[in-house]
C-alpha cells in the first residue's frame, strides 16, 4: 500500500518536471555556449589589474608582475635581456653587447635605436639598469594583436598616449592602446619572434637569409614545419622555452646531435631545437643510405636546398667603403634594383642582395670564435678577416657539413691599433646623418671603452651564418647529384672522399685504356680469323 503511494508520487513529480522542462530530446535551441579559450586557463580581459589605461610600458609590466611574480627575474637571466653571453668553450664574452658584425656593425653608442629589439624599456646608453624588473618588456613577445610597436630611438619604449619624448624635445611619439594589448596577451608566435628575428640587420630578411617575414605565414614549400595550413609550428615549438630561456644558440650551436629523440622526462637532454631532438638519428625509413650520410652531413644541408626562398631578398655583401657619396644637390641618395630594393645608400654604401641562394658549405663542430674589439687583425688584399671563425674538420669526430650563408663585408677599421671599430651610426651625431667617419668611430669606440687612433681604413671581412630554417618538404630535398657530380655543391669540402666528385682521373684513363686494348685485341683477333678464312 505504502509502496504504491511512493510510486504515484514519483510519477506525479516526473510528470510535473517534464511539463516544466519538456522532454530532453526536444528540438529546442541550446543555451548559448560561452566562448572558451582552449589555449590558456586565464582570460586576461577579465583581470581588473589590466582594466586601466597604461601610460608606459613599465606600467604594464608592473601589472603583469603583480601576478607573474617571478617572470621578470627569469627574463633577467636570459640572453634576450642581458645581450651578453659568456661562451664557456672559448671564454669569449659575446652577446649583442659585445660582438660586432659586418652589417650595421655594433650597438655601441647606438643603443637607443638598436634596443628597439631589446626585451626591455629604456636602454638608451650604458647606464641602463639591468636589475630593473619593471623595465622588462612582456608585451613584445606576448602581444597577439599585432599593434604593439616599440619606438625607435627611445631605447625600445612604448607609450599609452601621444607623448613628447624626450621631454621638451617637441618630438611626439604616437601612443598605442596598451590596455587592449595587455588584455589580449597570449603565447609567443611567429609574428612576435619575427618582429625582431625576421628583421635582423635592420630590415626584412637582411641578416639571416633563412628568417624573414615570408616565414610569418609560410607555405609548405617554404617551411614544412611552419606551414600555416599544415603543421603550423611556431618558433617555440622547436625553440622550447623553459623559465623564459629560449633554447638554441648561435654563439654555441649544437652542430652534431647524437643524443637521439628527446623523450619527456629523460635526464641529460640536450638542445631541444635540433632536428634530431624530434626526428632522431635515423629518420630515413626507406633509405638506410641516407641515414649513413647523416654521419657526415647535417640534416640542413640536404633539406634546405636554398635560403631566402620566400620572395624576400637577403643581403649577401655590404661595402661600407663606398658610402658617403652625395647627389648634385649635396643630399644623400639611394639606388634601387629593378625590384625596388636598395643596392646603394649614401649612408651605408653598396649592397648585393640574393634570393633563392645556394648556400656555401663547411665542416662545423659548433665551435665559434669571434673577432672582437680586443682582437688584433691584419689587413690583407687576398684574405678576408673572419668576423666569426667556425671550428670544424673532417677528422675531429664532432663536425658535420653545414650549409652557410657567408656574408661578405667591407667595413671600417683602425689601421694603427689594428682593430675593428664600432662606429656611432644612429641619431643626430651618427655617421648616417653626418657621413663623417672619424668622429662617428671616435664616439662609438669611446662608448665601447676601446682606444681609437683617429685613422680610418677599410678591411674586407666575412661572417658565416649556419642555415637551419626554411626546411623544405622532403620531395624538395637535394638530389644525390647536387653533391655527387663534378659540379658538386660540396666542391670546397676537404678531407672527405665523395664518389663522383673525387673520381680518380688517372684510374679512369688506365681503366678505359685496358678496355680499349681488350676490344682492339678481340677485334684484331676476329678479323684475322675471318681474313685467314678459317672456321676456328
Amino acid at each position: 500500500m505504502g509502496h504504491s503511494i511512493i510510486r504515484a508520487t514519483l510519477l506525479a513529480c516526473s510528470a510535473a518536471w517534464l511539463a516544466v522542462t519538456g522532454p530532453v530530446f526536444a528540438d529546442e535551441p541550446k543555451p548559448e555556449v560561452k566562448p572558451l579559450k582552449l589555449t590558456t586557463t586565464a582570460n586576461h580581459t577579465k583581470f581588473k589589474e589590466l582594466q586601466q589605461q597604461f601610460l608606459t610600458g613599465p606600467d604594464v609590466t608592473k601589472a603583469c608582475l603583480s601576478c607573474h611574480t617571478e617572470a621578470a627575474g627569469q627574463i633577467h637571466r636570459t640572453k634576450h635581456w642581458k645581450w651578453e653571453y659568456l661562451n664557456p668553450a672559448t671564454n669569449q664574452k659575446l652577446g649583442k653587447k659585445n660582438v660586432l658584425n659586418n652589417y650595421c656593425i655594433s650597438i655601441a653608442a647606438n643603443q637607443a635605436a638598436c634596443t628597439n629589439c631589446h626585451v626591455g624599456y629604456g636602454w638608451t646608453d650604458n647606464s641602463f639598469d639591468f636589475t630593473s624588473e619593471q623595465n622588462v618588456d612582456c608585451l613584445v613577445c606576448h602581444d597577439t594583436t599585432g599593434s604593439y610597436k616599440k619606438e625607435s630611438g627611445t631605447g625600445g619604449r612604448v607609450f599609452g598616449k601621444d607623448t613628447e619624448f624626450p621631454p621638451g624635445s617637441g618630438n611626439i611619439i604616437k601612443g598605442i592602446n596598451l590596455s587592449n594589448i595587455a588584455q589580449k596577451i597570449g603565447k609567443t608566435s611567429r609574428d612576435t619572434c619575427g618582429g625582431c628575428h625576421f628583421r635582423g640587420g635592420g630590415g626584412d630578411g637582411v641578416k639571416h637569409g633563412d628568417l624573414d617575414s615570408s616565414m610569418a605565414v609560410p607555405e609548405k614549400e617554404l617551411d614544412v614545419h611552419m606551414d600555416a595550413l599544415g603543421l603550423d609550428f611556431t618558433c617555440a615549438t622547436c625553440h622550447k622555452t623553459s623559465s623564459h630561456d629560449v633554447a638554441g644558440s648561435r654563439y654555441a650551436p649544437t652542430a652534431k646531435d647524437d643524443k637521439g629523440i628527446q623523450t619527456r622526462g629523460k635526464a641529460g637532454s640536450g638542445n631541444p631545437a635540433t632536428c634530431v631532438a624530434c626526428h632522431g638519428n635515423g629518420p630515413h625509413k626507406k633509405e638506410a643510405r641516407l641515414n649513413q650520410h647523416a654521419s657526415k652531413v647535417a640534416c640542413q644541408t640536404c633539406h634546405i636546398p636554398t635560403f631566402a626562398r620566400g620572395g624576400i631578398p637577403t643581403k649577401m655583401e655590404w661595402d661600407w667603403s663606398t658610402s658617403g657619396k652625395l647627389d648634385k644637390d649635396g643630399k644623400q641618395f639611394a639606388i634601387k634594383d629593378e625590384k625596388g630594393h636598395n643596392i646603394y645608400e649614401s649612408r651605408k654604401g653598396d649592397f648585393k642582395l640574393g634570393e633563392d641562394v645556394v648556400p656555401e658549405y663547411a665542416w662545423f663542430n659548433g665551435h665559434v670564435e669571434y673577432t672582437l674589439l680586443t682582437s688584433t687583425i691584419e689587413k690583407s688584399e687576398t684574405e678576408r678577416t673572419p668576423i666569426n671563425k667556425l671550428g670544424g674538420s673532417a677528422t675531429d669526430g664532432k663536425s658535420l657539413i653545414w650549409p652557410m650563408k657567408v656574408f661578405r663585408g667591407t667595413q671600417p677599421y683602425d689601421p694603427v691599433n689594428k682593430t675593428l671599430v664600432t662606429p656611432h651610426t644612429t641619431g643626430p651625431t651618427g655617421y648616417w646623418k653626418t657621413l663623417v667617419w672619424d668622429k662617428a668611430i671616435e664616439e662609438g669606440m669611446k662608448d665601447s671603452g676601446r682606444p681609437f687612433s683617429g685613422k680610418v681604413d677599410f678591411v674586407k671581412t666575412t661572417m658565416s651564418w649556419p642555415i637551419t630554417h626554411m626546411v623544405a618538404p622532403k620531395e624538395k630535398a637535394l638530389g644525390c647529384v647536387e653533391c655527387h657530380s663534378k659540379e658538386s655543391r660540396l666542391a670546397g669540402i676537404q678531407g672527405i672522399y665523395i664518389p663522383v666528385r673525387d673520381n680518380n682521373r688517372l684510374l679512369d684513363t688506365i681503366g678505359w685504356s685496358v678496355i680499349f686494348l681488350t676490344l682492339l685485341g678481340v677485334i684484331g683477333h676476329g678479323a684475322l680469323r675471318i681474313v685467314t678464312g678459317r672456321r676456328h
Binding site: 643510405r289 644525390c480 647529384v481 673520381n503 684510374l507 681488350t518 678481340v522 683477333h525 685467314t532 678459317r534
Partner: protein
C-alpha cells in the same frame, strides 16, 4: 658425326645466365653512377645497382653451395698442363686451322686457360668487387665495426678497378665464345648444356 657431351647442368646454366644478366646490369648502372653516362641517373642507378648486387650475392651463395656439394669446384683447379699449348693455339694455331689442343670431357669441361681465367675472376676480381662493394654499402658502420681506419677513397678505387677488370673479362669472354667449331657452338652449349666434340 661428332660426339655430344652434356657439360653444363641445369643449375649451372641458370647460374651462368642469371649471373651474366646481373653483371651486365651492374656494369650498366655502375658506369652511370660513376658519371660516365646518364641512363637512370645517379640516384636510381645507385638503387638498382644495390638491388642487383644483393641479388648476385644471393646467387653466389647458391652457386658456392652447388659447387661444393657436387664436387664441380674441382673443374677450377688450376693446371699448367697445356697452358702454353692453349696460348699458342689462340695466338697462331687458330688462324691455321690447327687442331684444338684440348679435348673436353665432363670432368674437364674447361680448357687450362679457361680454368685460370675463371679462377682469376672468382678468386680475385669477384672478391675485390664484392668486398669493396659491401664495405661501400656499410660505410657509416665502419667505426662501430672496428674499421674506422679504412679509407673510402681506397675502397672506391678498388671497386672501380674491379669494375674495369670485369668489363675487360666480359669482352674477352664473349669474344672467345665464338671460337668453338662454329661461332655459336659454345653459346649453344651454355644454353642447352650439350657440347659437340670433334
Amino acid at each position: 658425326m661428332a660426339e655430344r657431351i652434356y657439360v653444363f647442368k641445369r643449375f649451372e646454366r641458370f647460374w651462368h645466365w642469371s649471373q651474366a644478366a646481373l653483371i651486365i646490369f651492374l656494369m650498366l648502372t655502375a658506369f652511370d653512377i660513376h658519371g660516365t653516362y646518364t641512363i637512370f641517373g645517379f640516384e636510381k642507378a645507385v638503387e638498382y645497382h644495390t638491388i642487383a648486387a644483393w641479388s648476385l650475392m644471393g646467387l653466389w651463395v647458391f652457386a658456392i653451395f652447388w659447387h661444393f656439394t657436387t664436387g664441380e669446384w674441382k673443374q677450377y683447379i688450376p693446371t699448367t698442363e697445356k697452358v702454353m699449348a692453349m696460348a699458342n693455339y689462340y695466338l697462331f694455331g687458330i688462324f691455321r686451322n690447327a687442331p684444338h689442343p684440348f679435348r673436353l670431357t665432363q670432368l674437364r669441361k674447361h680448357n687450362p686457360l679457361q680454368r685460370l681465367a675463371y679462377l682469376g675472376v672468382m678468386l680475385f676480381i669477384g672478391p675485390l668487387i664484392w668486398i669493396t662493394g659491401v664495405l661501400y654499402l656499410f660505410y657509416a658502420d665502419w667505426p662501430s665495426l672496428g674499421l674506422g681506419g679504412l679509407s673510402l677513397e681506397w675502397v672506391a678505387t678498388g671497386h672501380v678497378i674491379g669494375a674495369f677488370l670485369m668489363l675487360a673479362f666480359l669482352i674477352a669472354h664473349v669474344y672467345l665464345t665464338t671460337t668453338g667449331h662454329t661461332p655459336t657452338a659454345h653459346i649453344k652449349a651454355m644454353v642447352t648444356g650439350w657440347e659437340d666434340v670433334d
